[in-house]
């Protein structure tokens, strides 16, 4: 029903003419954006530019009033709910690190694994070797192997950010939406996170929302600048940051 007969686009993610308004406030205004498979894209923009709302639309939390949102060229995301979209292979890291604080790090990753998510499957679940190996691998990648039995709530802010990225990895999605991954991180951690994202990008498509320009520069990828719910400029970080309208928006007029 919500799958088209033929691919409408070769893009992995395709947004066209999307509008959303909340009580008359136009959060997203004629937004069009495409992400090619394997691409990493950085999204910048001042507060209230609609970055998080855009992620809400892609992940099914918010339904657009108008416009097309296609995943993999065939699936209309506007008709699906969060659960279905997650199952399709779109993972999301939130702006505020959201991990399951009262559970261990290992359990957080176990919950994130893209295995049977139905009630019956989890009730009669037994850990398989393949699953524990995957968890092991993710723990290593995010350097939390020795902290595996600690409660996620006891982690530092930076570690929580990493755990959440680890959860994304365990989820093994096709597309990762990463909202402000380096907020509250030290310079060293920021650098490590950029390296980690580049590493992940070898296999996966990523969309990163970030304010930290040093970080965006370090990623060295195509940048889209959002303003008032629409794309203001697109290009390399140097092109975008020298764009007059972008400067105007950031500095205020």
């Amino acid at each position: 029903m919500n799958v088209r007969d033929s691919r409408a686009t070769s893009a992995l993610l395709y947004l066209d003419g999307v509008h959303v308004s909340f009580d008359g406030f136009h959060a997203i205004n004629n937004l069009s954006l495409t992400l090619a498979p394997g691409e990493m894209r950085a999204i910048i923009g001042p507060n209230g530019a609609g970055k998080t709302t855009m992620m809400d639309i892609i992940t099914g939390k918010t339904k657009p009033d108008e416009g097309e949102v296609l995943f993999d060229g065939v699936t209309d995301l506007t008709r699906l709910d969060e659960t279905r979209i997650a199952e399709l292979g779109i993972g999301r890291k939130f702006q505020k690190p959201t991990v399951f604080e009262s559970q261990t790090i290992e359990d957080n990753l176990l919950l994130a694994l893209n295995v049977d998510h139905r009630v019956k499957g989890t009730l009669f679940w037994r850990e398989t070797r393949a699953e524990s190996e995957r968890i092991e691998k993710v723990l290593e990648t995010i350097r939390l192997t020795d902290a595996r039995d600690r409660l996620a709530g006891s982690l530092s802010h930076g570690q929580k950010q990493w755990l959440e990225i680890g959860m994304l990895l365990a989820q093994d999605p096709k597309l990762l939406l990463v909202d402000e991954p380096v907020a509250g991180m030290t310079d060293v951690e920021t650098h490590q996170t950029a390296e980690l994202l580049k590493e992940i990008n070898r296999e996966k498509t990523i969309m990163v929302v970030e304010h930290d320009m040093t970080f965006v520069r370090e990623l060295g990828v195509k940048v889209s600048c959002l303003h008032e719910g629409t794309v203001l400029a697109e290009g390399t970080i140097d092109q975008v940051s020298s764009n007059e309208r972008v400067i105007e928006v950031y500095l205020g007029r």
Partner: protein, 388 residues
């Protein structure tokens, strides 16, 4: 299934089950075998009183399963308890037969009194215990399923859900109060004679009912433990702590809530069914919103999310209720209950068992991992680094 058992039974769970089993065996034996008046003989009235507490403990378990582990605060769980009780009460009514005041072999007394021409269709089958037992599970389960399907699918959560559950039990209270509803109006169902041919008043029957209640508590506890220690239990806690995050991981939150809510309602129904023959009456008062709120207080006092605490809280608070409502302090019981709830919320937010665990577990862990600790200190809190 052995892995489910080993997973479910940690030390405190085993101790709890052994205590319940011992109580379930020793109290009936002492009641039946020891001479009356002996120091260790438990009088029948006391055994029935304890039996009532055990039923309340099962109800508390069912509330803890959804509230403590999944964050669903039901303020209407007394409704499922009462429905289970009514199903059992209907069986007991039909067992009276022609021994009623009006001597009608089919119609219970209240129906004769209210000029019912014949037995209403929904009383059919209740002359058989197996059918009634099925209804004890089915009626609360079905109501919970329909209610939950509507509420969880529409993403009604938090205080709004609590208010709707409260409205549900109140609506049932009003319905069951009506004489033409067919369940005995405000008098409810009472004057029970026998169950499976045994006199409900007889000591041996009461002893058997007590033992059965303890068995039901054991089975209910094991069931809850099996659920909360499975991966499903981890998902429930995830839903409790961060519902929308769980959705974004690809879990269908409403299915999980529906499963656990329905299971919990069935458990509450069983508790009600065991309660009715032991107290000898079921009336619409059991649907009173206050009852459901009281049950939530038991869980809060004992410690939510601990299961053992819920059962313990039910017994402790009800014992206090029995003590205080029979003395000169009787008029002040509700004030005491309210004060207890406020004090527990302020001073022991984790309840009795939760506070004990918070105090005991770090101490135990410290003692056990004295050598493992140094290694953890070096690596466990190190900065995350890029894996090569």
């Amino acid at each position: 299934m052995p892995h489910v058992l080993t997973r479910s039974l940690d030390r405190s769970a085993t101790v709890f089950l052994l205590v319940v089993a011992a109580v379930g065996v020793l109290i009936p034996l002492s009641n039946l075998l020891l001479p009356e008046g002996s120091l260790f003989q438990v009088p029948t009235y006391l055994m029935s009183l304890f039996g009532k507490y055990v039923c309340y403990a099962i109800l508390a378990l069912s509330i803890d399963l959804i509230w403590g582990y999944c964050g669903i605060l039901s303020l209407g769980h007394g409704a499922f308890f009462a429905l289970g009780g009514y199903a059992m009460g209907m069986y007991l009514m039909r067992q009276i037969g022609s021994r009623g005041v009006y001597g009608n072999p089919i119609l219970p007394d209240f129906m004769v009194f209210l000029n019912y021409p014949k037995l209403p269709w929904y009383w059919y089958g209740f002359d058989m215990l197996w059918f009634a037992a099925l209804m004890v599970l089915l009626v609360p389960g079905l109501l919970a399923f329909c209610f939950g399907w509507l509420a969880f699918r529409s993403r009604v959560t938090g205080v709004y859900l609590s208010i709707i559950t409260q409205a549900m039990t109140y609506a049932l209270l009003l319905a069951f109060f009506r004489n033409d509803f067919g369940f005995g109006g405000n008098n409810g169902l009472t004057d029970f004679k026998d169950i499976l041919g045994f006199n409900v008043q007889a000591e041996s029957t009461r002893a058997a009912l007590f033992a059965l209640s303890c068995l039901a508590l054991i089975v209910g506890f094991l069931l809850c433990r099996a659920v909360v220690t499975s991966k499903l239990g981890k998902v429930l806690i995830a839903i409790r702590d961060a519902e929308s995050r769980t959705r974004f991981l690809g879990y269908r939150v409403e299915s999980y809530k529906l499963f656990v809510f329905t299971l919990s309602a069935c458990m509450a129904g069983v508790a009600g069914a065991l309660y009715v023959p032991q107290v000898g009456i079921i009336n619409p008062g059991e649907f009173a919103p206050g009852n459901s709120i009281e049950a939530v207080i038991w869980v809060a006092v004992g410690g939510r999310g601990t299961l053992i605490g819920a059962a313990l809280g039910a017994v402790v608070v009800n014992y206090a209720k029995t003590v205080f409502t029979s003395g000169p302090l009787a008029p002040y019981w509700l004030f005491m209950l309210g004060a207890l709830f406020i004090l527990v919320t302020l001073l022991l937010p984790k309840g009795i068992v939760g506070t004990f665990n918070a105090w005991w577990e770090p101490w135990k862990a410290q003692r056990l991992s004295a050598n493992a600790e140094s290694a953890a200190r070096e690596d466990g809190v190190s900065e995350p680094k890029m894996a090569e």
